[in-house]
Symmetry: C2
Subunit: 509 residues, 2 copies
């Protein structure tokens, strides 16, 4: 499996070893900065070897558990989060995860999880708030003769991890397309305050950095060769609900353009990951808008289609998140895509300065939204972590328009996505501009809370829950309590409570 052509630096070729040998260099209690963002570009061999080492250790010395703290870009895959969580090898995890085993350990109190805005992770690491990073474990697509690194299918926090760690382990994955070389733009102008300078970018296509990651050869303690695919989860074909949501968004864009509130080619779009997001992108691809741009954190299949058709001129991102078919399409036509895609570190792809300046249209999913427009993106019934806030806050807080999309119900109608009061808030009423379900779109801009409630209930709620929501709202308005944001405190979270107790948000008849 060795692919000599991927490691061109003689010094680093000498450090090639097995995943097991490399895993032996990671000590218990370490803070380990790993590559990986939305299932792309994560290390594929060393985490598994480390997990096996931990399993053996725990079998022998279970009273002194071997655990590490895992810092990444965002979500990874079973070969990293899953395998380490399964052997109880993770003490603390940040800043985002989506792994079922991890999630279970977080929600049963067996693993600590720190859920951070993805733009702020590197700043937090640099500031020292998170402690000292001991070791970086980074997948790359190749090593150049001078020791500089050709990044892989995600950039994430790799630049920061390599700079912050004393020791670096590299995985060189020959499965990654060699033509990724040149697609990255690693900005080396960041600094800690008071030494920060303006980031001189005014268009998603601007290049402001370098194509390679710098890495002092003396930091590298191991190089492991791999030949494995990224996670490449499949997308579902857009269903009726997703298609309706996409239609409402397209209609909204059309109207905003007519009124003169959006340029004809919109503004740079950001799109979260998932089936609905993909459906919106497919809708945009079939829609009337041309010469679009994207300034986002993830490129998924829908965006490839838009780039290929020419609807989208350029996409700036920090990672891919492609289905197996998407990956095939990407690899077969990489000469086209490499001219139109720029991969950046996540502190640049998600930077508040750039989200504000470029005027991002942020489109993200949610778990639940309340009648006043507060959005919960992370917690199931207020207590259980789903994945994390990811970049949604980065884009929604500072962008031009924040659009949150969701099916109006979940679990076959047992859950209404619109509730009297959300059980957790990730995006406040001040930051949420537009809500869209398959039933319609609520435009919350410039509206007071009570007007927002009518807009959300009437336009977005599922008909099965509309009456129940309006009943709550009206009784709250008539309760004699405060009328700015009317609530019945004793009932505000009762829908969630009922769901936990009966499995349904509706009272039994």
């Amino acid at each position: 499996m060795s692919d000599a052509t991927r490691i061109h630096c003689p010094k680093l070729r000498k450090k090639v070893m097995t995943a097991e040998a490399a895993a032996a260099l990671i000590t218990a209690g370490s803070n380990v900065g790993m590559s990986g963002f939305t299932g792309a570009g994560y290390p594929k061999a060393v985490p598994g070897a480390l997990a096996e080492r931990i399993r053996q250790h725990n079998a022998q010395e279970g009273n002194k558990p071997f655990r590490i703290n895992v810092w990444t870009g965002a979500s990874t895959a079973p070969e990293l989060d899953g395998t380490l969580a399964e052997v109880d090898g993770i003490e603390m995890r940040l800043p985002f995860q989506s792994d079922p085993i991890c999630r279970d350990r977080i929600n049963t109190g067996k693993m600590d999880y720190v859920d951070l805005h993805l733009s702020e992770v590197s700043q937090n690491a640099w500031s020292g708030f998170l402690g000292k990073m001991d070791i970086a474990l980074i997948e790359v697509a190749g090593i150049r003769e001078d020791g500089s690194l050709i990044p892989s299918s995600s950039l994430g926090n790799n630049k920061t991890w390599i700079e912050q760690a004393d020791k670096v382990i590299l995985e060189v994955n020959s499965q990654q397309n060699a033509k990724l070389e040149g697609m990255h733009d690693v900005y080396y102008g960041t600094a800690m305050p008071p030494n920060r300078k303006p980031i001189m970018m005014t268009h998603p296509a601007d290049r402001i950095g370098e194509a390679y990651l710098r890495c002092p050869a003396e930091k590298v303690i191991a190089v492991v060769e791999t030949n494995s695919m990224d996670r490449n989860s499949a997308f579902k074909a857009p269903d009726a609900v997703s298609i309706k949501i996409a239609e409402h968004i397209l209609e909204f864009f059309q109207k905003e353009i007519e009124i003169g509130r959006l340029p004809k080619n919109l503004l740079p779009i950001q799109s979260g990951v998932g089936n609905i997001a993909n459906a919106v992108l497919e809708g945009l691809n079939d829609g009337p808008f041309k010469n679009l741009t994207a300034f986002t954190e993830v490129i998924q299949d829908g965006m490839l289609k838009m780039l290929k058709s020419g609807t989208l001129e350029v996409a700036s991102s920090t990672a891919f998140s492609l289905s197996p078919e998407g990956l095939k399409e990407f690899n077969e036509n990489i000469d086209l895509y490499r001219e139109k895609i720029i991969l950046r570190p996540q502190d640049i792809s998600n930077h508040p300065e750039l989200a504000r300046r470029l005027g991002i249209i942020a489109m993200n999913g949610l778990i639940e939204v309340d009648i006043y427009g507060n959005v919960n993106s992370t917690h199931i019934m207020g207590t259980r972590m789903m994945n994390g806030i990811g970049g949604s806050g980065d884009f929604a807080r500072n962008g031009y328009l924040s659009i949150f999309v969701t099916p109006s119900i979940a679990k076959d109608g047992a859950i209404s996505s619109i509730v009297p009061m959300v059980s957790h808030v990730d995006h406040t009423e001040h930051d949420v501009k537009i809500i869209v379900t398959e039933y319609g779109l609520a435009d919350l801009r410039g509206k007071s809370p009570r007007k927002r409630a009518l807009e959300i209930i009437n336009n977005c709620a599922h008909p099965d829950y509309r009456e129940q929501l309006m009943d709550y709202f009206e009784r709250a308005c008539n309760s004699g309590g405060g009328m700015h944001t009317p609530h019945l405190l004793g009932e505000a979270l009762s829908w969630h409570q009922r769901y936990e107790e009966t499995g349904h948000m509706k009272p039994k008849n």
Copy 2:
């Protein structure tokens, strides 16, 4: 009272009229953009004349109420918000208020209130989300020969209002110190996306704009001469609680400097308004830190003292909020202060790009915080609006450190400022770094929710409530529910409910 020297433009001198005549030019249903920020630089004569006109109108034609929509920079004073609210003259108010009559009307459902991040108001107005601005009513300190305006004691959204409105009414207040001239820095480089450029500021002392407001003379339909003081609310002398809070913050800064996580002269400080904030500033003035800078939205008495002693080198702001003694000090020593103070539009003083780049240390008050670090800055018991979010979100979201301060209890102990779950969220767990009460400081950085809970309960809660909070937390942890953010949904808001029912958050024995 006419002070001819304040109106040097012949064209505009011809438009001088009484406040009553000017008020007659404002039509019912208008969107009126007014100057004013934290009780400084608001129009002082025309709102009162308009209120009288509305009172007379309503006495005669009460079935067709005369109301306007009032957009400002931030809070104003009884002569504006109070007088118009009293005659039911405000249909909708944005983006911040602190007037008791306004507040009452908002909370009894008689007035619409749209609570916005102060940095985003001008962007929202430019985008057209808020509707068309009909008329601007702006206090200035003088009019120059070419018709350009010497701004008053606040800049707020004045630049935007003058640009957006078809018609402008100016109040020229000869009470404002003539030496304000030259202290302002009005940045004319803003634009809507996709045409935005980097804001070339890297230090709070940087000047990037002009000293005057541009205003086409043909837009001006009236000029009214006034001679009235700003609101100039008195500050209380720091009490024991405020002094303890200040001590904890100073100790924290000292430690952060020792560890190397803050420069010796800190980073630009932002400080909310009020007695505690003022106490912290007094503490900083007496403390060991030198060569500080401020990048904030309000300059209050404590900051003048710091500027005078030399502890603070420069203060960038959008407004003053001085006590009568503070104003006297300012006027007597304006030659000193005018070299060290820069007043900017609020979309620059609060800009996310600048808050992030400069690395602001944001210090703001709160109404309540929960055990997981979610902060409520706006709502009393979840339903009643206090003032508004103001700039706290602008600075806390994008700055380097967000510090929220509060006495541990309110209403003589009937209310705990630390609760199981906040009844409204303005700053999410992702954005809140440090909580300080008179009992101590909770450092939430890099901690998972359950670790934050212990930190907040043990370090910050009032002893009378500590056991009750710990009891809730432990029962939530043992409830068998989700362990990421343990809650008892049926009890989470019960403290608020109990307060509403019994006047106390503690159960009766």
